[in-house]
């Protein structure tokens, strides 16, 4: 652009930034807002950028900040209710911690964890197994989909907790009704969500396999299942929370040990610190199992990370 220096000059002058704007550009600070004179376009923002992505330090920092906020609310609530004889009483962090260590050193926590963990393992394991088999069948075969979707859609809306009395009458007060409740409370969600995952297998892949000579059995085992595997792990992770919910419902009704039993016992003696300690254990188990299943998903599907 050597030919028209005088033509370019006014344009440059027109776009010159005011000192304030120059300052905001230097810091890289952008806030969403109306277009300002001397600048063009609407800044997309950083923390508030729709569908934006944060760097790892930002994510960890914000996560830590959020957890600290939760603890702060707890501390304030404990302080505000200190000395109250009834109504809302929140134990202090220190009291909760000592309740937790007491539960551990007496061995109660371990036996409760074992009892509850076993129920979840069997109940949720059976639920996932049924969910995978039936869900893949629904997602893959239009005939199965046509026949099963309506009845499952109906049964799904029956709150599983409403079945508790029935289960106790049918199966007694042993482990069977508890495990059954966990299965019943989660299996329909697992089935329908796995079916959705299996429906997500691209038709191109099924067609490619068929034209290469694959039998229907091979297409299910070598195309539908591997493609659905990461999605199935996601389904297992998401619905696990419902499994714990059903565990608590089951244990509150009839049980000698288990995490929910501990809460129920503590209620009788107004041991708020013990109740809080068990709630924290529930939260910790949730976070750990979530992380573990994310790890499983990462490990089973290197192609879909």
């Amino acid at each position: 652009m050597t030919g028209a220096p005088d033509a370019a000059a006014p344009v440059r002058e027109h776009r010159a930034a005011t000192p304030a704007e120059a300052g905001s550009r230097e810091t890289g600070h952008t806030t969403e807002g109306r277009p300002r004179p001397g600048s063009r376009g609407r800044p997309l923002g950083t923390l508030g950028r729709i569908r934006g992505q944060l760097s790892l330090p930002w994510r960890l920092g914000l996560g830590g900040l959020g957890l600290m906020g939760l603890v702060a609310v707890w501390v304030v609530a404990a302080q505000a209710t200190a000395g109250a004889e009834q109504g809302v009483r929140v134990p202090t962090v220190a009291a909760t911690w000592s309740a937790l260590t007491d539960l551990w050193s007496s061995g109660t926590l371990q036996s409760d964890l074992t009892a509850s963990g076993e129920r979840i393992l069997y109940g949720y394991g059976i639920s996932i197994a049924i969910g995978v088999v039936v869900g893949v069948a629904i997602g893959a075969f239009p005939g199965v989909e046509g026949g099963l979707e309506a009845p499952i859609g109906f049964v799904r809306y029956i709150p599983a907790s409403a079945l508790t009395p029935l289960m106790l009458l049918w199966l007694g007060v042993d482990e069977a009704p508890k495990i059954t409740l966990i299965v019943v409370g989660t299996v329909f969600f697992n089935i329908l969500m796995v079916a959705d995952v299996a429906r997500g297998v691209p038709r191109e892949l099924v067609h490619a396999a068929a034209t290469l000579g694959a039998s229907r059995r091979r297409i299910i085992l070598r195309v539908v299942v591997p493609h659905s595997l990461p999605g199935m792990v996601d389904v297992a992770r998401i619905n696990l929370a419902a499994g714990w919910l059903m565990l608590v419902v089951a244990e509150l009704l009839a049980s000698d040990e288990g995490l929910a039993v501990r809460i129920a016992r503590a209620t009788r003696f107004l041991n708020f610190d013990v109740m809080f300690a068990v709630l924290i254990v529930f939260g910790a188990i949730g976070v750990l199992s979530d992380l573990a299943l994310r790890g499983v998903r990462w490990a089973v599907a290197p192609w879909d990370r």
Partner: protein, 279 residues
Amino acid sequence: MTEPTDAGTVIADPGLLALEGVPYDQRPAKLEIRGLVKVFGSGAARVVALDGIDLDVPAGGFVSLVGVSGCGKSTLLNIVAGLERPTDGTVTVDGDTVVGPGPDRGVVFQAYSLFPWRTVAENVAFGLECLNVGRGERRTRVAEMLGVVGLSEFADRLPRELSGGMRQRVAIARALVTEPDLLLLDEPFGALDLQTRRSLHEFLRLVWQRTGATVLMVTHDVGEAVYLSERVAVMSTRPGRVANVVDVPFGRARGPELRRDERFMALEDEVDDLLHQPR
């Protein structure tokens, strides 16, 4: 990344050279399509996608179907592949009626048909696994085929690590490794950029020349059809019919210089006019 210039030595059939000069219609038909009709829906939503298609592909021949989008050309290819059932009419390969998909008709789809969890070698091996070919022989044949498509160094990569052109070469290798009677291509280069498409044209031409494969290709790219085929069938839309058949007189041995040939360009224009003529 250089595209391969040599299609290797797979099942070279010297007998095919004898076909040079034999009039097209006197060669024995590999694929016969007779009176093919496909109707979708019923009542007010009834659409006649294909209305009485007759088409032959001789053994070792290369026929292209060109048509604007929505003319039913992919439906026709899917019926030949056995992925869709015709409403009426028959498709036969070597006299056998097609009733479903099978490894005797290898199909290359436009894109996204590789198994993303399988490596390149495992993708190519899929058809051999279906035929219960033993592990050792499988490995040999996959390695040989990867050499043909020039992807030996990429045997252990996942599809997502490859470029679009390389993925389509894997798809072609996967379709060819079982040595199908018929290779069906459904807009195989439609999702690729022009340079990649041209180099894959050379690749496909060499594969066809050296393997003696019988090819039916669907495309909307007239230049591609004329450059690669011995015969171009031009389809009309709604109802889908073969409106015109144009023979391409450039023989089996062709090269990139053909693109600049006046006869080639004239033929390209002719097919283009047939494709867009008002009905």
